[in-house]
């Protein structure tokens, strides 16, 4: 097995296309405060190059992940920036504190290091699809803003000075030259900034007279261009200083997005059993607000802990949705499943409530003729949060399942209805003793690409024709089908 102290060396080349030699960035811990970590706030221009342990790698990333999830869920609930900020402050203090410059230096370094590394680790995990990138950028940008807000005025000033943006303050002559244009274009911004209640023409005019303007190449503030919010002349936007934070954050998110795409392109193909891959996959997959929980309280909670175990899993497979039945079938046939299949089935089984030792037993019995301990145990334990990070990964939902790479001929993962031909689906449903009429309806849905509807119809027929909400999670399917059969047999007995 794997040694906790083993250092990640491959991580270094992954972070970015920087080379340590070029920029001489490999810095002794002691010098960090005067260089990379001179500011509390980090724009993450420079990737980290010093080595860390895998343990740190994972726990740091997870702490940051928790914060991003929290930000995202605040947003989903429609909270505004002030509310999000207030909600996040205590969480940040606990998980990812950044103390101000006055404290002792080793604490400062370790805090800033954790912030720095965790950001770059999550870049690796979230660079891999457009959707993940967009969510990451959004959450990170809000985090950045929250933290900027927490800085003292002096720190804000220092920070602004320290960043290298091609902006330049205009002098009074230029302001006078464009007075009318500047006034007209920022009239509404000033008004908005003052708040509707205390803004009359007088105050707006005064504010304008005192306002300083920055000149920025239009490429840096595209949102101000497209919304026609500032005066543009000769390729420059004239931005009132009170929008400076906007400038910084829009630069922040734009750069981050570009860097993520770069990371995606330069990230080497990680080996299937590279220790980093499960960590990264689980990080990004765990970052899905679970529909299963919202669709229905966790059914597995109502079950005795030993009701399902390694030996009876095969018997209850008839209650599983066809994607999982297919994986069970493939596993039996080959005594093996490829990586994506193991992930999909493994997390489903975990969500069923199978304890770790039972899950290990199940997999050990199923994956024959292989060095189980060496090749697979770590991944399974990792899914359970028993090694490495302590985050509890949830079962994949239908969207996650469908978004996996297309299965090759010897692979069984993915959504059954999406990945199989109509003929195969027909044959399978026939085997399940469904009527031709039912089968026709189901295959019609498949043809229209409505896989989850097809799946729901199968579930409904398993549950005696009772109407069901649309299946969005395989564990929901299982819980419903399983419960129905239990109720039926209980009724018979009584």
């Amino acid at each position: 097995m794997f040694r906790q102290s083993k250092r990640i060396t491959s991580g270094r080349k992954n972070f970015d296309n920087y080379s340590a030699k070029d920029k001489n960035l490999y810095v002794q811990d002691g010098d960090l405060l005067s260089s990379v970590y001179s500011q509390r706030l980090n724009l993450y221009d420079i990737p980290p190059l010093n080595e860390i342990t895998l343990e740190e790698f994972e726990t740091w990333a997870i702490d940051r992940l928790k914060i991003l999830i929290e930000i995202e869920s605040c947003q989903l609930r429609g909270r505004n920036f002030k509310e999000i900020s207030a909600h996040l402050k205590p969480i940040l203090a606990k998980l990812l504190p950044l103390t101000s410059n006055s404290k002792d230096s080793s604490l400062l370094i370790s805090e800033r290091k954790k912030d720095h590394y965790s950001h770059f680790i999550l870049r690796l995990a979230f660079c891999r699809s457009e959707e993940l990138r967009a969510r990451f950028v959004k959450a990170e940008t809000i985090l950045f803003k929250i933290r900027y807000d927490l800085l003292s005025i002096q720190e804000q000033k220092n920070f602004v000075k320290s960043i290298d943006l091609p902006w330049q303050f205009i002098d009074n002559d230029e302001k006078l030259k464009f007075e009318k244009q500047l006034y007209d274009s920022c009239y509404n911004l000033i008004k908005l900034n003052l708040g509707a209640s205390n803004s009359n023409e007088e105050i707006i005019k005064k504010t304008f007279e005192n306002e300083i303007f920055l000149k920025v190449p239009f490429k840096y503030v595209l949102n101000l261009v497209s919304s026609r919010s500032v005066f543009i002349n000769d390729g420059y936007c004239y931005v009132p200083q009170f929008l400076q934070l906007n400038l910084i954050t829009s630069e922040f998110s734009q750069k981050l997005d570009e860097k993520l795409i770069l990371t995606m392109k330069t990230i080497p193909r990680l080996d299937e059993d590279d220790r980093l891959l499960p960590v990264l996959n689980n990080l990004s997959n765990g970052y899905v607000l679970d529909e299963f929980l919202t669709q229905k309280g966790s059914g597995s909670l109502n079950r005795d802990s030993d009701e399902l175990n390694a030996s009876n899993l095969n018997q209850v497979s008839e209650f599983m949705p066809l994607c999982m039945q297919n994986l069970m079938y493939g596993l039996k046939k080959h005594n093996h499943l490829k990586y994506n299949g193991r992930q999909q089935l493994g997390r489903f089984i975990k969500e069923l409530g199978l304890p770790l030792n039972e899950a290990l037993l199940f997999w050990k019995n199923s994956l024959k003729g292989l060095n189980f301990e060496k090749d697979y145990a770590y991944n399974i334990k990792h899914t359970y949060g028993a090694v490495g990070g302590r985050i509890k990964y949830r079962g994949m939902n239908c969207t996650n399942i469908m978004n996996q790479p297309k299965p090759h001929s010897s692979e069984y993962h993915g959504c059954f209805y999406k990945e199989n031909s109509i003929d195969d689906i027909f044959a399978k449903l026939k085997m399940m003793q469904m009527t031709d009429e039912q089968i026709n309806q189901i295959t019609d849905s498949v043809r229209e690409g409505k896989y989850q509807i097809a799946c729901t119809m199968v579930l409904e027929s398993k549950c005696g024709g009772k109407t069901m909400p649309i299946v969005t999670h395989p564990n929901f399917y299982f819980e419903e089908a399983y419960k129905y059969s239990k109720d039926v047999s209980a009724n018979k007995e009584s």
Partner: protein, 503 residues
């Protein structure tokens, strides 16, 4: 605009004076109406727009299909076209308005003897010696069958000419500069080197079909001098915005051959814009998604309003004379103007009354429509409210001027680097008109350059003087000057540039 403003409105209504008091110089101290909506979105709207360009293409294909027979009878057509030229030589205007579908032999003649391949090459290559800017440039061919062949590319202007002559397309379009020569993409691309668009001119496409809701002289594919005024306004506004606001220098307007124009911005920093930057620029210009224009006007809109309303060309006055304000358009704008609470103007009741009135008086002119609006304002007991309503109406009318006459851009064409656009000097397959550089004052009915006339002139068949040949040569000279100014700006070595000047 004194003459217009003083024109007395019917029934003693107010004059339609929307100007700020022009006697006092405009300063920020000018009173600002407190009517602007408080929210300002800093986030660009991502709304997906219909691809009107595709629609146009389809429409054109349809037209071609409809007249498919005439393609079979090509020779007859040619003859009749030729006689038409002779017959109407005295009436040059009528001759020029005639449009025809060029035969393949006409196209071949044009490609072999007339089309200035070298000029196009110099423009795209930004230097006299072929480099990646030209070699990696995509060209697409469109054929009579409707087939569309992408990813052509050429190693020199000789190669360019040779292949166009060989393929004899009905027209060709220009795409982006790619990472590789697009025609070698299959051989050269590998995991490290994939075909990706790198650069392209920033382009704008303005087409009169997008003006159908505001022009009453023509519709669909028809155009006349009256509606070409919309294009003049668009040229003036977009060009001023691109030059003053964005600082671009090298732009040229090209007649699309039927009812629109294309603008090519060739500055180095325009060519290298990425897609989000292109989108931001086009959205900066586009007002089609706004119901109420923020007051005070952004300088771009203030400038545009002045061009349309105050400029000596009297665009707005001419508009009111030559066109009407369509009732549907007016009611529609009033309704959407009203959706915003702080813009209190007409209420449901008053809109209904107005639209009934308009319906029962079908002969009202645009001018009359504007002046009766006031009478339909809902009456309020409070004087302050009444005053505010009047002010809002004035604002509405100002917006209306822009909604009617401000450029209507085809957004999709401009947003993406890899989008293709018909090349300058290509021939419009439906009209035979050549895509020549034009500017304000162009008349598509009398000053278009038609391939038929050009060929006749070149063959000495024209009884009239050689206007077509002259126009063609002038067009090439204009275009060459444009190309040279770019090359000069890109800092090509002096000697090379001198060689270039005497080609």
């Amino acid at each position: 605009m004194p003459s217009f403003a003083s024109e007395s409105a019917p029934e003693g209504g107010r004059s339609f004076g929307l100007n700020n008091d022009s006697s006092s110089p405009v300063k920020p101290q000018v009173e600002h109406r407190d009517t602007s909506p408080p929210e300002i979105s800093l986030i660009p709207s991502n709304e997906v727009l219909k691809n009107s360009r595709e629609e146009e293409e389809e429409e054109e294909k349809e037209e071609e299909k409809k007249s498919g027979d005439s393609i079979l009878l090509q020779d007859d057509n040619e003859n009749s076209a030729a006689t038409a030229t002779a017959d109407t030589a005295a009436d040059a205007d009528a001759a020029a308005t005639r449009s025809y579908k060029p035969s393949s032999s006409d196209m071949l003649y044009y490609y072999e003897r007339l089309l200035p391949f070298k000029s196009i090459f110099l423009w795209l290559n930004h230097s006299p010696v072929p480099n990646n800017d030209f070699i990696n440039r995509e060209f697409a061919f469109e054929f009579k069958s409707g087939a569309y062949q992408r990813y052509n590319s050429f190693s020199s202007y000789q190669d360019f000419k040779q292949q166009v002559v060989k393929s004899n397309p009905t027209r060709f379009e220009i795409g982006a500069i790619y990472t590789l020569p697009p025609n070698k993409r299959k051989v050269l691309s590998n995991s490290k080197n994939v075909l990706k668009p790198l650069e392209k001119e920033l382009v704008f496409d303005i087409d009169l079909t997008d003006y159908d809701e505001v022009r009453s002289c023509c519709s669909k594919t028809d155009i006349c001098e009256k509606c070409w005024m919309f294009i003049d306004i668009a040229i003036e506004i977009v060009e001023s915005g691109l030059k003053q606001d964005f600082g671009f220098k090298h732009l040229i307007w090209i007649f699309s051959g039927r009812r629109g124009i294309h603008c090519w911005v060739s500055d180095k920093n325009a060519r290298s814009l990425n897609d989000p930057q292109r989108r931001a620029i086009i959205e900066y210009f586009d007002i089609s998604k706004e119901n109420v224009l923020r007051k005070p006007y952004h300088p771009l809109l203030e400038k545009s309003f002045n061009i349309i309303y105050n400029n000596k060309k009297n665009y707005f006055e001419n508009f009111l004379k030559n066109q009407n304000i369509k009732n549907d358009f007016l009611i529609d704008k009033l309704k959407s103007y009203n959706t915003n609470e702080s813009q209190l103007l007409f209420n449901k009741q008053s809109i209904l009354e107005l639209s009934n009135y308009l319906e029962s008086n079908p002969n009202l002119s645009g001018f009359e429509k504007l002046s009766i609006l006031e009478k339909f304002l809902p009456q309020s007991k409070s004087n302050i409210n009444n005053k505010k309503l009047l002010q809002n109406l004035k604002d509405f009318k100002k917006d209306l001027v822009l909604f009617l006459l401000y450029p209507k851009l085809d957004l999709e064409v401009s947003k993406q680097t890899h989008h293709l656009l018909k090349s300058p000097f290509a021939v419009h397959p439906g009209t035979g008109n050549i895509s020549i550089p034009i500017h304000i004052g162009f008349n598509p009915l009398t000053s278009a350059l038609n391939l038929r006339d050009l060929i006749n002139a070149n063959e000495g068949l024209n009884k009239d003087n050689n206007t077509s040949l002259d126009l063609f040569q002038k067009s090439i000279a204009t275009f060459d000057d444009f190309a040279k100014s770019i090359i000069k700006d890109e800092g090509v070595k002096k000697r090379e540039a001198e060689d270039l000047l005497d080609f």
